[in-house]
């Protein structure tokens, strides 16, 4: 669908959309019946365990598997040699799952075993003897970018592997026109998505080369294509079923253990289950990029922004692909600046390969830019919301990354923030108040769905996008809305890779938008067929039939005088009017609508410990249309709290030896219930013209503003401007005492 396609009926009376029904998978999830990645067992199943590098960077001299193989109960031991030679496109992917000639980070997989029990598998893994020759390593982004830095891997000449540039106008000229300039450098440490469910899968390959995988993933079609390519199989030989998924946030959009489980199953001739330990999850999956960002902005005395320049350095592990391009695109996306430039450098480091994390790359860029904007407000002595209202992007603004915006909701969220009781509430002694905004693109992508009208008038809906947070409810709502039947009549399942056409992974906040679009299309196609059956029954042309409120009606007096036929009535007769009735949709969805949010935060810094307590928090965001408002609020709250965790505590800590120091929830501290207040939300609905119900993605944007919002509140509370994330107690304390942490 072209970008400019305008859907009608955006403002309409919805019957099901916008209500808050109980989700269809809810009962299973409150009773313990729902089956997640690690909950599957198969007859004859054995257990896999992965052997991991203890070096940040080393050459593998030899791997001796003989002792492990000799242990009774061990069915297979594999190394990289057990995988077929790879085509160019898959080498990096497999390298990250199983090292080839060198290990590139602490925790890099080097071998795997499968044995008849978990404890035997652990013992066998400990018997695999790997000889390494240690090589120089580097884990810090600025150190990796410096001249003379140790090279992250053999065969490269520099750790800086790519550069991206976005912008328009002439920044030199812009700065020359500026009366006030703010210039600063900001850093952020890597964080992990922190989903509570570790990666888990069961792979089962028969002697005929046909295989099945069960796994927790945001994209089972991606798992099928990737694993099939790595193992030299055809797509039809491998069927992947997505389990219930215990959180992903972008971290389950690639393969980690699935190719290994498949290779072990092939060698052992048995189903193999692999469940990552939490330590492995931290060591070898996720995380985000760490970053270092230089920002310079210039404004006139009257508060008009005239120039913006940002240089972003992101490291995303040893393979590149730090997604710094997205950071550079998102950096100034909230502003209308005549002269703007963002340059992003993609830098290698001896760390695991980055995985997407909720609005990937945008939170760091927003921290830097929003913090600079706040400082500009202080210099100009203007209100931070008035300043943003003056300079914000609107419909018709040429965005800093290229396209010209259509209808967008940034100004509305800023105005709503200004009008919000939180903004005008008196601030208790010792607390500070912060505000910042954020942006995310949102995606569409390849999507396919199928909808069957059952003979009893109920509807079965198959979607190909895993449900990571209540999306089945939203799918059922959209199908019910389009068909004109009650929500309870529709049941949605996430179908396996053999049952539907290709679906892109659930990411970029695309599911409610793109999968929803496919569901509505499927429902509309089913409606056409229902109308055909009615026309046939009444013996009138199909053009003379219209569908409303869940029934076929003769369209106007000329069509004839027939009593309406409900969906259930047509379905009951379908066997004698031409057979089953269904609808399908296969699309490459375009027209995703960008989304913006503004957050307000109150915080109090303990002067003795440097610990920050968030005392009040408000999220205001444009959802386009909230299909199920509870889950939209839930996305706002969850995303904001992940951002608060990033702002205050979460970080990857590497030692001098290049090894990860805090691979567990005790030392990598995510927010707990007692750290937080209630998270207030306000949903704005500025419809996305690219979707029939006006949906924009909602899941990504809420993690973007918190870093700068919290930093602003900390400044208000204790007077310190923090330029390094996380703003953990030791760092804040050091700032208060006038030294570096």
């Amino acid at each position: 669908m072209p970008l400019d396609t305008q859907h009608e009926n955006q403002i309409r009376d919805f019957k099901v959309v916008g209500t808050r029904p109980v989700r269809p998978d809810g009962l299973d999830k409150v009773t313990g019946r729902a089956r997640y990645g690690a909950d599957m067992s198969l007859p004859g199943m054995i257990f896999g365990e992965i052997v991991r590098s203890t070096h940040a960077h080393a050459k593998i001299i030899s791997i001796d598997t003989s002792a492990a193989e000799a242990l009774p109960g061990v069915h297979a031991v594999i190394t990289r040699a057990d995988f077929p030679a790879q085509q160019a496109g898959m080498i990096d992917t497999l390298d990250h799952c199983m090292a080839d000639a060198e290990v590139l980070y602490d925790g890099h997989a080097v071998a795997a075993v499968a044995a008849s029990s978990k404890s035997l598998a652990r013992r066998a893994a400990a018997l695999v003897k790997v000889k390494y020759e240690a090589l120089p390593h580097v884990t810090d982004v600025d150190a990796a970018a410096a001249t003379g830095a140790p090279l992250v891997k053999m065969g490269i000449e520099s750790n800086i592997v790519d550069t991206h540039e976005f912008g328009h106008g002439d920044v030199e000229k812009g700065f020359a026109e500026a009366d006030v300039i703010v210039e600063r450098t900001f850093t952020t440490e890597a964080t992990h998505q922190g989903y509570i469910e570790p990666h888990a899968c069961v792979a089962n390959m028969g002697g005929d080369g046909v295989a099945d995988i069960w796994c927790c993933t945001q994209g089972h079609f991606m798992v099928r294509n990737t694993c099939a390519a790595i193992m030299g199989m055809s797509a039809s030989q491998l069927r992947v079923t997505a389990s219930e998924i215990g959180g992903g946030f972008g971290g389950k959009t690639c393969v980690y253990i699935e190719p290994t489980a498949l290779a072990l199953s092939k060698k052992a001739g048995r189903p193999v289950k692999i469940v990552m330990s939490r330590q492995d999850v931290f060591l070898a999956s996720g995380p985000t990029a760490s970053s270092s960002i230089d920002v310079k902005i210039g404004a006139r005395k009257d508060g008009t922004l005239v120039a913006g320049l940002a240089t972003l350095r992101y490291q995303g592990g040893a393979w590149g692909g730090s997604l710094v391009n997205m950071g550079a695109m998102a950096a100034f996306a909230c502003y209308d600046i005549p002269n703007v430039k963002a340059v992003g450098h993609d830098i290698l480091a001896n760390r695991p390969k980055l995985a997407a994390y909720r609005a990937p790359s945008a939170p760091m860029a927003a921290f830097a830019i929003e913090s600079a904007m706040t400082e500009m407000c202080e210099k100009l002595e203007v209100d931070p919301l008035d300043f943003r209202l003056k300079n914000c992007a609107r419909a018709g603004t040429k965005s800093s990354y290229g396209p010209t915006y259509g209808e967008i909701g940034l100004e509305a969220t800023l105005q709503a923030a200004k009008d919000h009781p939180h903004w005008s509430a008196p601030l208790p002694e010792g607390q500070g108040r912060g505000v910042a905004c954020g942006f995310w693109f949102n995606f569409g992508g390849q999507t396919s769905s199928s909808l069957n009208i059952n003979e009893d008038g109920t509807v079965g809906l198959s979607v190909g996008t895993p449900d990571i947070g209540g999306s089945r409810a939203a799918m059922c709502q959209m199908a019910a809305e389009a068909l004109g039947i009650p929500y309870e009549k529709v049941r949605a399942i996430v179908a396996d890779t053999a049952s539907l056409g290709y679906n892109d992974v659930t990411d970029g906040s695309r599911t409610t938008f793109a999968s929803g679009l496919a569901v509505i299309n499927s429902a509309n196609q089913a409606v056409e067929r229902l109308c055909e059956r009615a026309a046939q029954t009444w013996d009138i042309p199909v053009e003379a039939v219209e569908w409303k409120d869940g029934a076929a009606h003769p369209a106007g007096a000329n069509a004839g005088n027939f009593a309406p036929l409900t969906l259930a009535e047509i379905a009951a007769d379908s066997g004698s009017t031409g057979g089953p009735i269904s609808g399908h949709s296969e699309i490459n969805a375009d027209g995703a609508g960008v989304s913006f949010g503004t957050h307000i935060c109150d915080a109090e810094v303990d002067q003795e410990t440097g610990r920050t307590t968030i005392t009040r928090y408000t999220v205001i965001q444009d959802a386009g249309k909230a299909i199920h408002p509870d889950y939209v609020e839930g996305q706002f709250q969850g995303g904001a709290v992940q951002g608060i965790g990033w702002a205050l505590n979460e970080e990857y800590i590497y030692g001098e030896d290049g090894r990860l120091q805090n691979a567990g929830f005790l030392d990598y501290r995510i927010p707990v219930a007692s750290d937080l207040p209630m998270i207030d939300t306000q949903i704005l609905e500025i419809p996305n013209p690219g979707h029939p119900y006006g949906v924009r993605g909602v899941g990504e944007t809420p993690i973007v503003p918190p870093l700068a919002t919290v930093a602003h509140a900390i400044k208000g509370s204790c007077g310190q401007r923090m330029t390094s994330i996380p703003m953990s107690p030791p760092k804040v304390l050091a700032a208060l005492k006038g030294r570096t942490a």
Binding site: G26, I245, G246, D630, A673
Partner: protein, 158 residues
């Protein structure tokens, strides 16, 4: 390693199993008894996804040995609903949309039930501190706290 024979009660049913001396109660429940409603998030006592009760006391089952179940009464998420009748907490979690991915939900429900047995009228702060050992990465806790408070109100009234 020779296995131990253990007799216990799980959700009111008499149960016997064999386990290794160093095997956790969580692994026994999940792998030997098929009770996969108890979840593993960390295996080190840091996430609460594996919460169960032993003789009514809330514990992380990853920190308890299977052998310690001998002669005890174990309660898991699978025992919370009575037949078709959901527990008030389960109903309130659904009504308030207090779960997104749902992986933390069994542990939080078991922990919240233990809280309300001990303190039927908790303040928001008390709920937050009681549940501080149960990580949820999806929700930001807001709707979870509301669901527990609402369930407490309804249970006091009933």
């Amino acid at each position: 390693m020779s296995q131990l024979q253990v007799s216990t009660t799980v959700n009111g049913d008499p149960v016997e199993f064999l386990c290794e001396p160093d095997e956790s109660l969580m692994d026994v429940l999940r792998d030997r008894l098929g009770l996969t409603g108890t979840k593993e998030g960390c295996g080190s006592g840091d996430c609460g996804a594996c919460s169960v009760t032993v003789d009514g006391r809330l514990v992380c089952s990853c920190l308890v040995l299977g052998a310690e179940a001998q002669g005890r009464e174990i309660g898991t998420i699978e025992g919370m609903a009575k037949g078709e009748q959901l527990h008030t907490l389960q109903k309130k979690f659904l009504e308030h949309a207090a779960l997104q991915c749902g992986i933390c939900t069994p542990g939080i429900l078991v922990a919240a039930e233990a809280l309300l047995k001990e303190n039927p009228d908790p303040t928001e702060t008390e709920v937050r501190y009681w549940l501080a050992g149960n990580l949820c990465r999806c929700t930001g806790y807001d709707k979870i706290i509301r669901a527990v408070m609402d369930a407490a109100t309804e249970m006091r009234g009933a």
